[in-house]
Symmetry: C2
Subunit: 415 residues, 2 copies
């Protein structure tokens, strides 16, 4: 089979997550010092729980909550994690599993296993949280817990602050942690970028395999299946960053096609364009790759015009983006480049400046130009406090309008 040239999956990068914790501790210390507050307290996060499907005992395959994954890299459900701001000490709390777990779910691992795997300083059981925090961190009165509570600018939903039996014995702070950890996530470390590069390499190979096999008469979902298989079989990627969008023909104009109500079920026709928007995830870090091509391998005239217009916008953005540039300007540059190409090809007529002022570009690109990418496909931090989402057509869809900084990672020309 073509494409069986497996990329070697990296081992679990515990140091990456230790680095993320160090970054958070430094940021929290800087913030507290800057506000003349004492360096006391712990950041406390609650990991995700396995979910049953409705009332049944069907367990959905668990994927860790993203902030928890960022700091601890823990793949198992039911954990808590804490970081002491003064000492930098990191603590995991593991669920105490019932004896029959070993029959149904597998080995009950000792706490030392989690200490070794996740490179934290110490591990206790979840039912010991209140006692541990009280014994070790309450010398000067009640310990202070910084809990994660804040709004996602993509979903409008709020993260759920950690809760445990006995939490009322502690002081809690709900406002400090979320913006600071979110800002940490915006700037990727070299280790994070290397992991994302791997997920991108796997996805690229899988896209190429799809291109090799695509032909008229196939179903869109078969392209999804080829991608998923290639990414898992040869890249060890069990999850994707998002549901595969395998859009052909007119479906290509639907930004988030492929979900249950539009399930990649069209038959491919000779002459169709395909828009393949798929990205694998490896060890929590994702990728997001969209490519368009004619399924019979030959662009017709109109397909060439549109493809080249998008390619030109893509290249314009790449050549202009650098630290200091504002992302909203990159969005406008893409829009303008597309309008210019369409004008040149006599598809639209008029003054480009006037079109831009009237926001005509939003007709051809209703989504924002890309988004921050990381542990989430739409990684958080697009609109930190003080930055307002634009209201104008097209611009209002931008998931960020930030000034670019070294270490930011974005997808572009996709949503």
């Amino acid at each position: 089979m073509a494409g069986s040239s497996a990329l070697a999956p990296p081992g679990f990068p515990a140091e990456l997550h230790a680095g993320n914790r160090e970054r958070l501790v430094a940021a929290l210390r800087g913030h507290l010092s800057g506000s003349a507050r004492p360096l006391r307290g712990l950041a406390l996060l609650q990991g995700g729980e396995e979910q049953n499907r409705h009332c049944t005992d069907h367990l959905e395959l668990f994927r860790q909550e993203s902030y928890f994954a960022y700091l601890f890299g823990v793949r198992e459900p039911g954990f808590y994690g804490a970081i002491d701001i003064a000492s930098g000490q990191s603590i995991l709390f593991a669920p105490r599993l019932p004896p029959d777990y070993v029959v149904w779910m597998g080995e009950i691992k000792p706490l030392s296993y989690f200490k070794d795997r996740y490179k934290v300083d110490v591990v206790f059981y979840v039912d010991e949280i209140a006692q541990v925090l009280q014994d070790k961190f309450s010398e000067h009165g009640k310990a202070l817990l910084f809990l994660l509570y804040g709004k996602s600018s993509d979903s409008g939903n709020y993260s759920k602050p950690a809760t445990f039996e006995g939490i009322e014995k502690f002081d809690t702070d709900l406002s400090t942690l979320h913006p600071i950890i979110t800002e940490c996530r915006v700037i990727k470390s070299d280790m994070e970028i290397a992991l994302m590069q791997y997920a991108n390499d796997v996805s690229s190979e899988a896209h190429i395999e799809v291109m090799r096999q695509v032909k008229p008469g196939m179903k869109e979902y078969q392209l999804e299946s080829i991608f998923l298989h290639h990414a898992y079989m040869y890249g060890a990627c069990r999850h994707c960053s998002y549901t595969c969008i395998c859009a052909t023909g007119e479906n290509s104009s639907v930004l988030h096609y492929g979900h249950t109500a539009a399930p990649n079920d069209r038959t491919l026709n000779d002459g169709d364009m395909a828009l393949m928007d798929m990205g694998a995830e490896y060890s929590f870090y994702g990728s997001d790759i969209t490519c368009s091509y004619p399924i019979n391998g030959k662009f017709n005239g109109n397909q060439t015009i549109v493809y080249n217009a998008v390619l030109k916008a893509h290249n314009a953005v790449i050549s202009h983006m650098q630290p200091g540039v504002k992302w909203i300007d990159m969005h406008k540059l893409a829009e303008q480049t597309i309008l210019e190409s369409l004008e040149k090809e006599n598809i639209i007529h008029g003054d480009i400046g006037a079109m831009m002022a009237r926001r005509l570009g939003a007709v051809f690109m209703p989504h924002g130009l890309g988004h921050l990418l990381g542990i989430d496909t739409h990684d958080p931090g697009g609109y930190p406090e003080g930055l307002e989402r634009p209201k104008e057509p097209g611009l209002s869809s931008l998931r960020t309008i930030r000034e670019l900084k070294e270490g930011m990672v974005s997808s572009y020309l996709s949503d």
Copy 2:
């Protein structure tokens, strides 16, 4: 590629779900008449909702709630459905989608689309529920709504009764519907069995493809990937009935291996046995197939003994099961057959009757012998009212102890 002999996926079987509704109406009428209650009221169910992953805008791929799927076969999220008991009239309520749905998610389908696809009598919008139920079904005072509320004997969780704005204007009954619809689901119609046969055929082919490709040095998850790909690519099965269990070596003794904390990540060694427990789902109906084999293709002595002991139990159950037989007796037959084989091979010594009385079989088969299978892997109805779960080791894991009836479908020798 081997195995590319695609099975032709059946079209969407709207009649199957119409048949399920007819069965429910008949059962409800019988129950009401039997209790001298008037034939009035509607069964009202709320379908599932798409879920975001934690606070993000990551949408999990939606799979319909199983009772709702049983009656209506609706794949889209956000629906309600009602069936009038007196007339048998069926009504769907579709969510009213925002105008920008068309840009992001796809075509906004007219109500007539859902009427045609799901073969119901009439379709309204969800925001019209209270009005429609009041206008059409409240001639003789408040309309009576039979809501779904009851406990799953597998998870211990309760189904969530439908709720909507204005529900306080109606009479509601929380106790009647659940046991009756659950009992309907226990006995499969010919159309249901045909669909399950298709899911089983696809899964069988996918298992065979895994057998063809398995060899030492591979990772367990690669076997999962092969199965998933084969079932989707050639069988149109986007979902599986449960997370794939690709257990090799000592992992084979873990009943529900393969989840996030034990993620099919062992490397296969020459001489290993594989236990592959995987089943595809098609149009909501599932399959559950387990097979065991040596990955190098040759059983060694001990592997032969154990394999043959299980095969003999398997054959004994198949030759004895028939309507009228109690499932708990089939479980005991399997246990006894295994103990006899092990005794004959000098692995255990003593009197089989005494072993059975002391429940020694539970050591070798800690799970129950199979379970009802359908829209859920562990289909409901194993313990209808009046039937108590046994307390003895092994028997306490039985998901049903019922007397077999024509139309019941069970997996066997698996959990």
